[in-house]
Amino acid sequence: MLGFLFTAIIVLSLAAFYVGRSAGNRFVAENGPATHSLAGYHGAFVAIWVGVPALVLVLLWLLLQGSVIDNLLLASLPPALTDGVAPGRMSLLLSEIKNTAVGVTFGEPSPELSAAADTWARWNVIAGWAMFVVALAVMLLAGFFAYTRLNYRFRARTNVERFLSGFMIFCSLIAIVTTLGIIVSLVAESLQFFSMVPPAEFFFGLNWEPQISIREDQIAGSGAFGAVPVFLGTLVIASIAMIVATPVGIFTAIYLVEYSGRRVRNVIKPILEILAGVPTVVYGFFAVLTVAPAIREAGSLLGFATSPNSALAAGGVMGIMIIPFISSLADDALRAVPQSMRDGSLAMGATRAETVKNVLLPAALPGIAGGLLLAASRAIGETMIVVMAAGLIASMNINPLDSVTTVTVQIVTLLIGDTAFDNPKTLAAFALGLVLFVVTLCLNVVALTIVRKYREQYE
């Protein structure tokens, strides 16, 4: 049905294009150079009028149809079904009705339920046909309207170009809308969370046990939402990653910029790019399968008690992941230092190492620092490696051989599986997400500002 509708829109738009173009050709034949626009623009003008409004209408319709029908259905339900049902249970009731309508039932549904299911199925069919008819009507009306406007002096090109400009502006606003969407959705859910759990407990509490009781009177079922251990764990793992990646990345960059020849560089650079292109889930598997057991073995040989999902394994592998990131940003920063400074230092008799240490690194420092901040933000936001290799239980410790948990791990474990949006356990994930977003955003903004300022310095 839907595929048919989209095909109809495309076919009718194409037809409109040919009709409009032939009208344009007629104007050119009759009026010659007095015609304002080329024939193709007449065609495009009619095609836009036929296709775009219908497409927008169908997309909006599809977005809203589900929830409109749900609400109408809930409003029309007999009181026998809805009386005394908590709002949270309504969605359960809805999915029960839908399952009944599709035929997935356990046991015989009650008559009210099957009646509601019939209503639901009937309304959906009606809505589908209504959409089809309305879309067709819109296409025909708009096409007719556009066609009647065509004449040899009609500014079809200007109109088409105006539409294109509007479309382009709309597209560049999508980036803003995305950011706003992120902020609004995170803030809205977080506010709801903070109405259940006081912010002071979340930001300063030392106990993170987000399990909520299933029964009201269950013992020890209230859940604790002190996020400090989670933040601490994130910090531990990100620090390990930075400790691993910073020296390797910076020394690699120094060698590639100052010492290596072109040929070595042309080999090493793509290899680093491969390292950067490996999906994080692969690194996660590597951490679980190879690195964590190796660290455990080494730990027990040396007589340390090592957790099977130690922070060292997750952090170390995350470090490998951000090596290419740091090295390429440090590489850019070192290259941006003008050749004259390098030549000056070498001409004074300094060795390469002294030039690097006393001239290049100080000059490139802002760029490198910006790169390190970006890398840190990436380490904090990295998910798959820690989900697979780090622990789940939040504890206040900074021992790298012990298991710690991170913000991203908690978000994933809280939200995996079916989620209801009315308990603090689910909403806590959004509060953590908000913290993560704000922290990484700050790091990114600072880093990008530093890098840009520094670039201007030498341009």
Binding site: D70, G181, E189, Y259, T290, A353, T408, G433
Partner: protein, 427 residues
């Protein structure tokens, strides 16, 4: 009459200076050695990573099969009701054929050699060819996971019995089958053509590949036109003012937002507010397109920038409008660069896992999706599911799945590099 003291700049004796120089040169060599060391570490780690995956995964590309002769007797199979027939009994008779003249006990053990789904294989084969009723059916049936490992040598026969997953009797039963020459190990096409399963021997990637394909198509359909349009506006039309600055900073920041935050956005907006179905490739593709959009905008802007101004000026000079200049001249010339960047952006999207977990694309689904609205997994989430599975056979499958994913990524990047070299013009 020369004054030698004026010539000597340094007061240091020659031997001290030489020692100092030596030290400075040593420091230089040290820095160089650190650099080489760092590169060796990075390249070595990549080597270890790939070696582990290849060593762990290559065996999953073959699968042990056992040739079994099933008598399709009319006693067990009703030609009018093939689905409801007693296929379990047919399998039992097939197993009897594997162990001619052996005791009941050995046959009981031997039944486990075949995968649990054997009866469905037999059923499907007979349904596809109903004339087999009353005849015999010879079928290559996948061996179940422990025996597969035994045949591949992963399961060590020399280990003491209590540390093995198979007892001595079970191995003996397997050896009876092997001595008859019924065991083979062909290429594991099931890895590509089967969907997910709880039994590693018949689990495959087809559902994940199809799901990833749908999600990438959605991602491409949304982010490619939108990204190009946004980039053209920002690069060619936008006035330089505070608003366009905000948009620009925004896009750069969006490129650095952690991927899991996009997952939260998808969960809260696409699933919760718009009510789109969970686990659907449509939602996955929409979330991925939001993440790919900044990449495409940035590469498109760079590609547009690299088209020389003389082209624009010539077209403007011929009387073209600004839109015509861009649509007819600048954009076609920039297209190779845009395509290259888009493919690389899509390759990144293909490997993205975290946002897909949050919108539920990590469910256990045993058939490939029939459309973008049906529940499905994607390649990286399938890897995540398998990596979490306890069966030994899934370890090899996970590595193999990773190799398949890396294969796709390498192919996409190779296409991008090929396009860049063949089509891109330097001015």
């Amino acid at each position: 009459m020369t004054d030698t003291s004026a010539v000597s700049v340094s007061d240091r004796p020659a031997d001290v200076a030489a020692r100092l120089r030596k030290k400075r040169y040593a420091a230089d060599r040290r820095l160089r050695a650190y650099g080489i060391g760092a590169i060796t570490v990075a390249v070595g780690l990549l080597g270890i990573l790939i070696a582990t995956l290849v060593l762990g995964g290559y065996q999953a590309f073959t699968q042990t099969h056992v040739r079994v002769t099933f008598p399709i007797s009319t006693q067990n199979v009703d030609a009018d009701d093939l689905r409801g027939s007693n296929w379990r009994a047919v399998v039992t008779e097939g197993v009897e054929n594997l162990f001619p003249g052996q005791s009941e006990e050995v046959r009981g053990l031997g039944a486990r050699i075949l995968t649990n789904n054997t009866q469905f294989f037999v059923r499907d084969a007979v349904i596809a060819n109903p004339s087999l009723v009353g005849e015999t059916l010879v079928l290559e049936v996948p061996a179940s996971d422990p025996y597969d490992q035994l045949n591949k040598g992963v399961l060590d026969r020399d280990l003491p019995e209590n540390r093995r997953r198979l007892t001595d009797e079970q191995i003996a039963a397997y050896d009876i089958v092997e001595e008859q020459g019924l065991v083979s190990r062909p290429f594991n096409w099931a890895l590509f053509f089967n969907a997910d399963s709880r039994f590693p021997e018949i689990a495959g990637l087809s559902g994940a590949i199809v799901g990833s394909f749908y999600a990438l198509m959605i991602c491409f359909v949304i982010s490619f036109p939108v990204g190009i349009a946004a980039a053209i506006y920002l690069e060619e039309f936008a006035p330089r003012n505070r608003y366009t600055d905000i948009i620009e900073v925004n896009i750069n920041n969006l490129a650095a937002v952690p991927s899991i935050v996009f997952g939260l956005l998808g969960l809260a907006v696409f699933l919760q507010i718009f009510g789109l179905p969970r686990s659907a490739p449509l939602v996955g593709g929409m979330v991925l397109s939001l993440m790919t959009l900044p990449t495409i905008i940035i590469v498109t802007r760079n590609a547009l920038k690299s088209v020389p101004p003389s082209i624009r000026e010539a077209a403007l000079g011929m009387g073209a409008s600004k839109h015509q200049v861009i649509m007819h001249h600048v954009l076609p010339l920039a297209l190779p660069g845009i395509l290259t960047g888009t493919i690389i952006g899509l390759a990144q999207a293909l490997g993205e896992t975290a946002p897909l977990l949050l919108i539920g694309m990590n469910s256990f689904i045993t058939s490939p999706p029939g459309g973008v609205m049906e529940a499905s997994t994607a390649l990286p989430t399938q890897i995540f599911i398998w990596a979490d599975s306890p069966e030994r056979g899934f370890v090899a499958r996970t590595s193999a799945a990773i190799l398949v994913l890396l294969g796709f990524l390498i192919t996409m990047n190779a296409i991008a590099i090929f396009l860049r070299q063949r089509l891109e013009r330097t001015w």
